[in-house]
Symmetry: C2
Subunit: 312 residues, 2 copies
Amino acid sequence: MTRDPAELLAAAGEGSRAALARLITYVESGGPSQRATIELAYRAPSPYVVGLTGPPGAGKSTLTDRLIAEALGGELDEIGVLCVDPSSPFTGGAILGDRIRMQDHATDERVFIRSMATRGALGGLSLAVPDALRVLGAAGFPVALVETVGVGQMEVDVAGAADTTIVVTNPGWGDAMQANKAGLLEVADIFVINKADRPGVRETRRDLEQMLDLGTAKDPRPPILETVASTGEGVAELWSAILEHRRSIEGPRHAEHRRALASAALERVLGVLWRARLAEIAEGQAYEDQVSAIVDGRTDPYRAAETLLSSS
Amino acid sequence: MTRDPAELLAAAGEGSRAALARLITYVESGGPSQRATIELAYRAPSPYVVGLTGPPGAGKSTLTDRLIAEALGGELDEIGVLCVDPSSPFTGGAILGDRIRMQDHATDERVFIRSMATRGALGGLSLAVPDALRVLGAAGFPVALVETVGVGQMEVDVAGAADTTIVVTNPGWGDAMQANKAGLLEVADIFVINKADRPGVRETRRDLEQMLDLGTAKDPRPPILETVASTGEGVAELWSAILEHRRSIEGPRHAEHRRALASAALERVLGVLWRARLAEIAEGQAYEDQVSAIVDGRTDPYRAAETLLSSS
């Protein structure tokens, strides 16, 4: 297979999943291929991005699975799915299980599924997700799903790349939601109470409604839907709510959102260029000299950093 | 109280906890006070840093509590403690409980305890921890403890700032440890099986020994200790093991470690300066123009970023 991003993108547009996978590897991996791929991807329109987030065990993967089927049963011919795996050391098993479950669609030609790991706190791979979404768009996917486990900042980050963000909760999660109220309100366009065949749905709905009443939720007010992903119950209604939200944000508000996405992409690339510069600085003898001076107490990290930046 | 970092540091050296707290706020918060504080802090020797890490619920706070008492009962006159709280949205309660528990020492004049939050993925507050440790050193603390919940990268980051790193586990955690084997081996100078009055100690010890046999552990080989933090059992032995490790790393190896710390500090400050530059760029009209160009598909984020960097 060719290694040229333009040729790969042409092949991806004609349906080559291998070409598409390679392009996404490029946006994850840095270097000249990353750059060329991003340049191409941002010249094409973005796909409509639906984000799913929520804590581990909420049933996001099963729900994503059902949404894929629902979307393909309706107006869509194909769909791209990115799964963001936080590299949480103590939950490895569950995540792996999720991925295996979603392989229901692994042999479906109309579905492209890609797991993207996250790495470390700084410049992690999750930063590549918005770029990977643009690659999907450039390859002709009109709609993409992003599923991510909501841990700390990540849900906010990924929601920042989505047009419609679904926050998945479960019955009985009042306290857990309370702890992260601001974060949930900030990102949610639609709330889903999944596993709604379990006790506690009414209380969870009441807690969510209270959050929406008291906090500064998004406009339009996020609907609260109930699903049982394991049986598919409520999934058609969820897909309708997604399309409804999509209609509701057309116009000026959507233009503003697109601007925010572009700004985020620009900041990301500024970060990429910065890290390249930092790597260059860190390789030089001047860097080693400044480290020695810090160790000896002859300078401090501020003065050392300024010396390095001004002389490079 | 004065706002001048040099005066605050003098006051902190004479025992003013309020002055010390303000200096740590400075290193967390950015701006000229951060800079002045870091400049001062790095001119003084570093404290000896003991790091405790491990997953939520391992009993780190109780163990830290006991170690404080043990240290103060022995050779130390005072001790500084930093608690790094990951902003994990779904475990708020437990963390709060930990902090309250550690308030056993809140009224002890010889103990300075400070919680430091972490924020977001990029440039989070955990980056300020090494600088805060240097502030403790400059204020005259010979030893500092850092306690952090091991989630993903953070344990590695904080261990990078510690001279002796203790990884706290519990009986029955074989599988969980297996998932993060490389990370644990990379950071641990001492393994502790806390809650050792519970079943499964022997299996956990066996799993740890196997990890140490098969992986590339630190040198000297990390001892495996058993504690029951709730009763204090094994804590004296743990403190002895810390002192033993401290003796073992004196000499050239320690110089290398200090160099790594200085290099990390330098990288952090380079990041601070970069973020300042980024903020400056993002405020200009040129930035808005480039965002518009990306939205319209007239440019891509790479070209836009290079334009901004070359003209600023």
